[in-house]
Symmetry: C2
Subunit: 444 residues, 2 copies
């Protein structure tokens, strides 16, 4: 999609390139920056107009941002930082190494520096750390006309003007009023009369995922953030909430695949970082899987006599693992969407028991037919394998649905109970069931 722009850059037609880029969305200009040679990035950035350059900067990946900051003069850096919304500036600062942070803070004007430092103090992943303090605040006694005038005067630097916050003298939040309400109201209406009372808010220390879910639940464009004394200190906007929800989903997916979550896109992550994300669970699960091996060792003699039993170990382990992870992943996702809570545990177990029995029976019947008609296995062996299937699916679903709930109740992240750990647990379970059923039926 960038052929034209790349050609203009190649031919050094900077005037035309400037005009061409001005018509593009800053998110796309940022993508274009990823495509061009590193030595041209600063050059292209400099031909953009100031406001577009600053917006483009917020859309860029942090490695390119860092590269650009290094090539900026102090006054250039100051110009960019001054144009940024506060929450974007904080996002950038959080990604940069210490020496770059120092330079950024030195370049920001004193007010902005103070605000950035304020927000940096909030714990990582808290509402405070993702909020912006650039919002429109109004007073109850204002008329709509005064409110609109205030928005016109101060709105340019605000991240959103579409939700305005009504505060009292102690700066406590007492209501919200949308720009839509203001525009549709009579200009002599009083804010206190048309505002929505009892606004929904979160506190600065609230977890950012809860903040994002709250905003999503109510379909808000922004959510107010208050301190312990209920004073309004900032707002979280819908675009940041969307980022949080997407990151949360990615994190959950990574954890479900036994990967420690990372913040960087895959293609930008070095192989040692990828290694560090993956090796801990691989090691832990490898060690736990050796216990499964011990169970086999325990029944070594029987396996020596009935070698055919070994044939079915992979199928039983896989089916058990899949059944268990179906249940655990369903429950984990339900927990993170807040559709399920610990109190539902008995309903869930009862549901899974019935699903497990139906699934187990169907799988056992299908397998029985296959064993007898296609594999020509003896009836006794078929019986052992199929009873094990029913038992394995039963216990796999039981463990799969209950362990995430128990983990959550115990204060752990339920995602640790996703596929890999459940699989390892269920592997051991299925072998114990298998050999015990075999012992009873085959009598060894």
């Amino acid at each position: 999609m960038f052929e034209k722009a790349l050609a203009l850059l190649e031919e050094k037609k900077f005037g035309q390139l400037r005009l061409y880029l001005q018509d593009m969305n800053p998110a796309d200009i940022a993508l274009f920056m990823e495509e061009i040679p590193e030595e041209s990035i600063a050059l292209v950035f400099r031909i953009l107009s100031k406001d577009i350059a600053a917006e483009t900067f917020t859309f860029m990946e942090s490695d390119l941002q860092e590269h650009l900051i290094h090539s900026f003069s102090d006054s250039e850096l100051k110009a960019v930082i001054d144009e940024l919304f506060l929450d974007d500036a904080v996002d950038i600062v959080e990604e940069m190494p210490a020496n770059v942070v120092k330079r950024i803070l030195r370049s920001a004007d004193p007010d902005k520096r103070k605000m950035i430092n304020e927000i940096l103090k909030y714990p990582e992943d808290s509402a405070g750390s993702i909020m912006t303090i650039e919002f429109v605040s109004l007073r109850k006694r204002m008329t709509v006309k005064e409110a609109l005038r205030r928005i016109r005067r101060t709105g340019l630097d605000k991240e959103t003007i579409y939700t305005c916050y009504v505060t009292n003298e102690q700066n406590r939040l007492c209501g919200i009023v949308s720009a839509k309400t203001l525009l549709l109201a009579d200009e002599n209406d009083i804010i206190g009369d048309i505002m929505e009372q009892n606004p929904i808010y979160v506190t600065t220390l609230e977890d950012k995922e809860i903040v994002a879910h709250t905003l999503h639940k109510y379909n808000f464009l922004a959510l107010p953030v208050v301190d312990e004394e209920l004073r309004l200190v900032g707002i979280v906007t819908v675009d940041d909430a969307m980022d949080v929800l997407q990151e949360e989903a990615t994190e959950d997916i990574e954890k479900m695949a036994a990967i420690l979550p990372s913040e960087r896109p895959y293609l930008k992550t070095g192989i040692f970082d990828i290694f560090r994300q993956r090796i801990p669970w691989l090691l832990a699960l490898m060690i736990s899987a050796t216990f499964t091996g011990k169970i086999i060792t325990h029944f070594e003699d029987a396996l020596g006599k009935f070698v055919v039993l070994t044939t079915f170990i992979p199928m039983l382990m896989d089916t058990g693992g899949n059944s268990g992870s179906q249940a655990s992943v369903t429950i984990i996702r339900g927990l993170s969407l807040e559709e399920i809570e610990f109190g539902d545990i008995f309903r869930i177990i009862w549901k899974e028991i019935r699903v497990a029995l139906i699934c187990g029976m169907v799988l056992a019947c299908a397998n029985f037919l296959k064993l007898i008609l296609i594999d020509h296995v003896s009836m006794t062996i078929a019986l052992v394998v199929c009873s094990t299937l029913v038992g394995t699916v039963f216990f796999a679903k039981l463990a799969g649905c209950s362990l995430p709930l128990v983990a959550k109740k115990a204060g752990f992240d339920p995602v640790v109970m996703a596929s890999p750990l459940i699989t390892t647990i269920v592997d051991a379970l299925s072998l114990i069931i298998y050999f015990n059923i075999a012992r009873v039926i085959l009598g060894f």
Copy 2:
């Protein structure tokens, strides 16, 4: 959180209950509706004021909506439908059984009925099916003052007034202007001069996930939808885009756990529906796992001689499966976040080869020490197991990273290549590697 309201309902203090509920957010009133006895739902709904009742209705689960519609008189139904935004009405209609749909359409006024029917015609999961046609359109030659007057006159029924769309006589989209720009502009400015040209848009048939990603990428509050002749027909708002992104993540997570995706929350899904979501992959994977069994059968004689080899089968299979799914899940998520495309395949393979070698070596060393020092296994067996580990991790990561890309290129959903299928493929791979290495080293 609903103790007070439940108590008021219990004591039949409807006046107080009404006042109490009026102060709550409609999203919370909808949750409250889930908590009360079914026979009280219609009653509580009727004490709400008309606009709050309609908004509450949109937040309710579809089974409760259906229950309410059944208890409505025709005029009550008409009142609720008239209050709904078009896209909410369409969402509700899409969830209802045919007889309820007929009643809703009969109750809607002719204009609304026509619009609902229009949108119902768009294919499921298309931009058209999730858009609303209630947006503010402006003309280039209008002044800001005229535009604001138009918003005041028509804005009440619009889903959003914060992005206005500038169209020409043929109704083609020629620009967008935000309410912020309008409010901050001089009232005599001409829309054509202050609007943003070259707006980003999607077509009615575009996949809704791409629509949501586009809106998210540009941090928009709404995204315009045009038909084949580039005429503006609707907009998709950020709240609907967030829903789509969340549903997409849930769907991916379910598919990664070998579950057919469902649209209903777990606790509301019957056991036969859950069974139907889960059994197809369980059956398919069970059948494929029997091929792994065949490999074991093939080496039955050798296993009879070296029974100790059987002990390590679960550990090797699990480690292979986990390594493979780490790679595949990373790639699948990267593809759905559009961070990765097929063209990156060689970079990805080269990256995974290096990660695989490091992971494999570390796992093999750890395991070697354990085998020799703790399990007191013979050096030859330890050598067989540890070489297999390196080989298995290598091929697992290779298959894990490349198969999702190949699936995507071939037009399939890359998610089918997630953990369960990769695990089954890798199981077979690891056994083949294991027995062949064993044959060479142990010489059977």
